[in-house]
């Protein structure tokens, strides 16, 4: 039992933090927002060098075959620095989808070998359309590969028209599905990994927003004292800290839940049963998404309020997190969708346990890729 990153994982996060702190992200983001991806692509290569883009790519295609825990450690730092680009797509879901496609019952082309090595090396940036979670391809106009997944099918997609996003550092593409890449595969885990990566970004963004707000509240004086000494300000910041403190363990639990089971399954000889009792994959992933989104939204709201008018300017830079947080909270399944999945999961648990009146549970489990969701 250890629900915390290892020393190696903490060191990985520290090195990413140092690298991103030196990368002049405000400039990268501003250029990205203006449709000039040059600096962003250079940063992407640097992330590849640090091992980020190949985390979920199997070794035989040039990746690191790392797991969901390394993924959240990296994605939290990416969110912390508000790195622009289709990150949950390119770093998490797409490599997992392509890996799953390699063993799909029907696979007209060898997509994994075709794209995964370049994706791991940071030369290929991928985006994804997965209705209803992701109706548009984030930054699809600059992506080298767009996948469209709907149920058990993966197709290559082609960007049609570009739409502006609420987040100035992101553009959306409407996508036309093209040639079939694979079908009959289980895309579930890949999509869960996307949710997980998105949740980690949200938590990292929440931390950055709190840090910046605390720094500002220490420096900015009004009425002759730092605004951080006023209860009306400090109490809001305290609430943000609480939200972050209690979202993080859910993110960790979700990563643990998505880890492949130990091989062979760890069994306690005395008890004679598998000893992984406290995680529940879909429920923990959904809980993490809701909690990280909630923490990030609270952090964003308070950050803007604490900064006041200066936070509202493009020059200040708070915008990079404010826009990111709002769109990521709604992407990869809205909070309402994830709450509904939790309730559905709990309902079936009790139905299966037999101590619940079956008649009350007639809520069909939601399917991520079916339009009649719970929103």
């Amino acid at each position: 039992m250890r629900l915390a990153p290892s020393e190696e994982q903490l060191a990985f996060a520290d090195s990413l933090h140092a690298m991103l702190a030196a990368a002049d992200l405000p400039k990268v983001s501003a250029a990205w927002a203006d449709g000039d991806p040059g600096a962003g692509r250079a940063l992407w290569s640097a992330l590849a060098g640090a091992g980020v883009t190949g985390l979920l790519v199997p070794e035989r295609w040039g990746g690191h075959d790392a797991g969901p825990v390394d993924l959240i450690v990296a994605c939290e730092e990416l969110g912390h620095h508000a790195v622009p680009g289709p990150l949950a797509e390119s770093v998490a879901a797409v490599p997992a989808l392509l890996t799953a496609a390699a063993t799909a019952p029907n696979r007209p082309r060898d997509a994994a070998r075709e794209w995964l090595p370049a994706l791991a090396r940071g030369r290929l940036v991928a985006s994804l359309v997965a209705p209803p979670w992701l109706p548009f391809a984030a930054d699809g106009d600059g992506a080298d590969l767009i996948l469209v997944t709907d149920g058990d099918e993966i197709r290559q997609g082609h960007a049609r028209s570009v739409l502006p996003s609420l987040n100035p550092a992101r553009r959306l593409s409407e996508v036309t599905p093209g040639a079939l890449i694979a079908s009959g595969q289980d895309s579930g885990l890949a999509m869960e990994l996307g949710v997980l990566a998105c949740s980690a970004q949200l938590l990292g963004a929440a931390r950055a927003l709190l840090e910046r707000s605390v720094d500002y509240a220490k420096q900015r004086t009004q009425f002759g004292r730092p605004i951080g000494s006023f209860q009306a300000v400090r109490h809001q910041l305290a609430d943000v800290a609480v939200a972050i403190e209690f979202a993080q363990p859910l993110l960790y639990a979700a990563a643990v839940a998505l880890k492949p089971p130990p091989e062979p399954p760890e069994r306690d000889p005395a008890a004679g049963r598998c000893v992984r009792p406290v995680t529940d994959e879909p429920l923990d992933v959904s809980a993490a998404k809701v909690a990280c989104g909630e923490a990030a939204r609270r952090a964003a709201r308070v950050a803007l309020q604490v900064h006041g008018a200066v936070g509202y300017t493009r020059e200040h830079g708070l915008w990079r997190w404010l826009g990111l947080v709002r769109v990521l909270d709604l992407a990869w399944g809205t909070p309402s969708w994830h709450r509904a999945r939790i309730l559905t999961g709990l309902a079936s648990e009790w139905r299966e346990s037999g101590d619940h009146p079956a008649a009350a549970v007639r809520w069909e489990p939601a399917h991520p890729y079916r339009k009649e969701g719970f929103e």
Binding site: R234, D268, L343, A360
Partner: protein, 383 residues
């Protein structure tokens, strides 16, 4: 990173689960702060202690099992999931005991902890005073040096469990000086001693869970000072950390209540189909999202407890989180029940108890200030 339980943890959890299944009383015991309930709860604690389950984390010589913190967490989860009785000894077990183990002498631990584990001695808190609540350092109850010990005078209030307790622990002013945080002494006092008057206070929920304690020249021997005389504030703050942190309110209480809430919501027919009760809207009702949030937050608290085994969680954050969660959870249950909530046998009591959470153990305003200052490093508010 993993959430795996080792063999010892699994065996321990199963032992606790089996023992509770065989021993937890079928119906609720009488109210803990009534004369009858006092006896019933003490008798329950004796059975727990006989099974070696009263305080598994304590050293073996004081009645514990020297079990790792994970086992204390597992015990807490099983205890609440089994619907076992409220711990009449909780002030002693969860607040005084950690203080004694950290600051007390071996003699004090050996004398006080074993009877505490068997509920032969039930402890009350004596912190607040009529004019010293959130501003605890302004307390005025005096400890005057006398031969062989101290003489206590003054008034304490909101003393949890004092109506049925045998002894109390608290802070007393032993020297007067400009620094309010100095000159306070942490003392343990016998509530049956001459000069002590306990007056129970009827609470919002009808019970008398707390009381006023009047002290009129009450003698306390030197052996019942914890830490150094005058150093009580520092010692008390370590108790406060336990009170606000995970030791008083483990996750079991909240995860068990969240599970009950989800069941309530499902059984009320809120999921789909025609409403079972006329006050409920057809189909998915608007309480669903709140029910899910209550479950998510309870699970967050549980996972934070596991995470805290590797990295401590600030006690102020913990107290804010569980107290707000408890109110939210019970408010949601009442809303799901609608007008039937009023007469429900179970939820109103929990609701009224939850309402006290943001007030006791340091109000949530004090917690936010503490967190802002100690964790975020924000400047103090001028006082």
């Amino acid at each position: 990173m993993n959430l795996d339980l080792d063999g010892a943890a699994v065996r321990f959890r199963d032992e606790v689960r089996d023992w509770l299944a065989a021993n937890v009383p079928a119906g609720p015991l009488p109210g803990v702060d009534t004369a009858e309930g006092n006896l019933a709860h003490r008798s329950w604690e004796r059975r727990l202690a006989a099974a070696g389950l009263a305080a598994v984390g304590w050293p073996v010589e004081y009645g514990g099992r020297a079990a790792p913190p994970l086992h204390t967490l597992l015990f807490d989860e099983e205890y609440h999931a089994a619907g076992a009785p409220v711990r009449i000894g909780q002030n002693g077990l969860f607040l005084l005991a950690p203080t004694l183990l950290a600051h007390g002498t071996a003699e004090q631990c050996a004398r006080i902890l074993p009877p505490m584990a068997r509920a032969e001695q039930v402890w009350a808190q004596a912190w607040s005073e009529p004019d010293a609540g959130s501003d605890l350092a302004s307390l005025r109850s005096r400890a005057r040096r006398v031969d062989g010990g101290w003489s206590l005078s003054g008034q304490k209030t909101w003393s949890s469990r004092a109506a049925v307790a045998d002894r109390a622990f608290g802070l007393f002013r032993s020297t007067l000086g400009p620094d309010r945080h100095r000159g306070l002494t942490y003392l343990m006092v016998d509530l049956r001693a001459p000069g002590v008057t306990v007056r129970p206070i009827r609470q919002l929920d009808g019970g008398a869970g707390f009381a006023e304690i009047f002290l009129d020249d009450v003698f306390v021997p030197d052996a019942d000072v914890i830490g150094e005389p005058g150093d009580g504030w520092r010692v008390a703050m370590s108790t406060a950390a336990h009170e606000r942190g995970l030791s008083l309110r483990g996750p079991g209480r909240f995860t068990a209540a969240a599970d009950r809430l989800v069941r309530l919501w499902l059984a009320a027919g809120a999921v789909s189909g025609p409403p079972k009760q006329p006050w409920q809207p057809a189909g998915r009702d608007r309480h669903g999202e709140r029910v899910a949030d209550a479950w998510i937050r309870a699970r967050a608290y549980r996972m934070a407890a596991y995470a805290s085994l590797a990295r401590p969680v600030p006690p102020s954050a913990t107290k804010l989180f569980w107290s707000e969660l408890d109110v939210f959870l019970h408010e949601t249950a009442l809303d799901v029940l609608g007008p039937f909530a009023e007469a429900d046998p179970e939820w109103p009591a929990g609701y009224l108890f939850a309402l006290a959470g943001p007030i006791y153990a340091g109000t949530n305003e004090i917690q936010r200030d503490t967190l802002a200052q100690r964790v975020l490093g924000l400047p103090r508010e001028p006082r």
